[in-house]
Symmetry: C2
Subunit: 294 residues, 2 copies
């Protein structure tokens, strides 16, 4: 079998040719997220990005992420939590039977309010497989960061934090933008951790965010330190709102982001392990393997 994994998000598209060991042999990424794809254009874009791999004999292509949403290629209905790996594997939505399938997302409801994810579930199942874990807390930082609680091999619950998006809109569109440089520049660790710590004693980002303005006007923060400080406030607020109690978490995502979270967590007395794109490809590989078993 020639397995092609596709992680098709809102603003980006990643594809990989996955080897027999579950690791990527080759990986490509582009900005062709689902928002850039014209209606009916998904097969064409996939062909352009991974057509050579799909032409191989016995090619199987599994697509996770927002491509399976109502705004995507075709809707792959959500699986409801608690959800096991098999629940997801049995609910693949086939575009071309035996050749191209969409992976369903997960849905969780708490006190009448739904939450949902698409794509992260494949990364979590992949991480569980890679690390040999059936229980744990998995954190997937990003525009909409997911906190996923796994017990007895099932995703029991999860929660979405709009941390990446809050950082972006505050940094670009609020009064805080006025005292910041055009570009973020490299992480200023001291300023970042000052933000993380300040967030622990605040009760809301609505209030703590204003300290970024005050410390810019009255010192001691320099314009170069402000983006890192704000990032620390946002990530620190996210961590404050979770009951960490020294728990260990698995971080999955882009290295620059998981590194920030790991740093913040360590400062708050929590250990973490970090995974990157290998988690997604291992998840696709595990799904493909399950299809071959009777």
């Amino acid at each position: 079998m020639n397995l092609v994994g596709v992680d098709w998000g809102t603003s980006s598209l990643r594809v990989a040719r996955i080897g027999a060991d579950g690791f990527a042999l080759e990986e490509r990424s582009s900005e062709r997220g689902i928002l850039t794809v014209p209606p009916g254009g998904f097969a064409q874009v996939l062909q352009e990005e991974a057509g050579d791999w799909l032409a191989a004999p016995q090619a199987l292509c599994l697509v996770s992420g927002m491509a399976g949403s109502r705004q995507g290629w075709q809707e792959a209905p959500y699986c409801t939590c608690p959800a096991a790996f098999d629940d997801v594997a049995h609910a693949l939505a086939w575009i071309e039977p035996g050749r191209i399938a969409l992976v369903p997302g997960l849905r969780y409801e708490f006190l009448g309010t739904p939450d949902a994810m698409r794509g992260e579930e494949v990364q979590v199942f992949g991480a569980m497989d890679l690390l040999g874990l059936a229980d744990g807390v998995f954190v997937l930082p990003g525009t909409h960061c997911k906190w996923v609680r796994v017990a007895e091999g099932r995703v029991q619950s999860f929660a979405t934090f709009m941390s990446g998006e809050f950082y972006r809109v505050l940094r670009q569109h609020s009064i805080l933008a006025r005292t910041m440089p055009e570009e973020d520049g490299p992480l200023q660790e001291e300023a970042f951790l000052r933000g993380v710590r300040h967030a622990q004693q605040a009760r809301s980002l609505l209030h703590s965010a204003f300290s970024a303005r005050m410390l810019a006007l009255f010192g001691p923060l320099t314009p170069q330190e402000l983006p890192s400080y704000l990032s620390g406030l946002v990530i620190g607020e996210e961590l404050r709102s979770r009951a960490l109690h020294g728990m260990e978490v698995v971080l999955i995502g882009a290295p620059a982001l998981t590194e920030r979270y790991a740093l913040a967590l360590r400062t708050l007395g929590c250990e973490s392990r970090r995974l990157g794109s290998e988690a997604a490809w291992r998840g696709h590989w595990a799904l493909a393997r399950s299809l071959q078993q009777p």
Copy 2:
């Protein structure tokens, strides 16, 4: 004496001719906030907006707000909390001695993080004078909402919440904008209160804000209800983060905004009294009166 009160903020300018009883005889407002005034242009703008009133005999003009900041007409140094009315009255910064003065703002520092306000202190002192209060909690909703604690006639402490600004950037620039109509429309009370209540059980707006997306996608909220729901989430988060315990607060600000806060507070078991622009003018009047006393 012919008293002219000026409340000169970042994005707006309000002027009033204030009568002997401390109430406005005439009021004007414009969009000529300090950000629109070219360097050195403040006297000219004031002349255009209130020149007829300033030409009266024995005219006295008191200017509060961001016009007294480094980015404004001239810097009027902050008074440090705890600060009494007299501390502010004695620290007026005269532009034209005996004729035009800037009112200083207040500064408060907590655990090494400064907070500051300009203009709201005049409204709080005015409200204290109007209501005969020497103690209380005063809330001034807006772009940067202020919570001001007064005891024994002094502003003991205050805290800034970027609630108005968070609402605006999330509503205009985040993913939440996608499921909302162009205009906010009238307040949808039920959706607003649903947001207020949801915020009480959330531990961070980073998470609760995502419910606005979920309830838009999966129901039951309609696009017309979403701005009200988001407003409820933001104001509800602000109230959650304060230790209300049934306290009574004085709300000062634009009626549409103080009405929302009063509604949210009542839902959480707190009574409030509401004041509008009369608080600012009463504050200017009290300052003017203090100048005439030896």
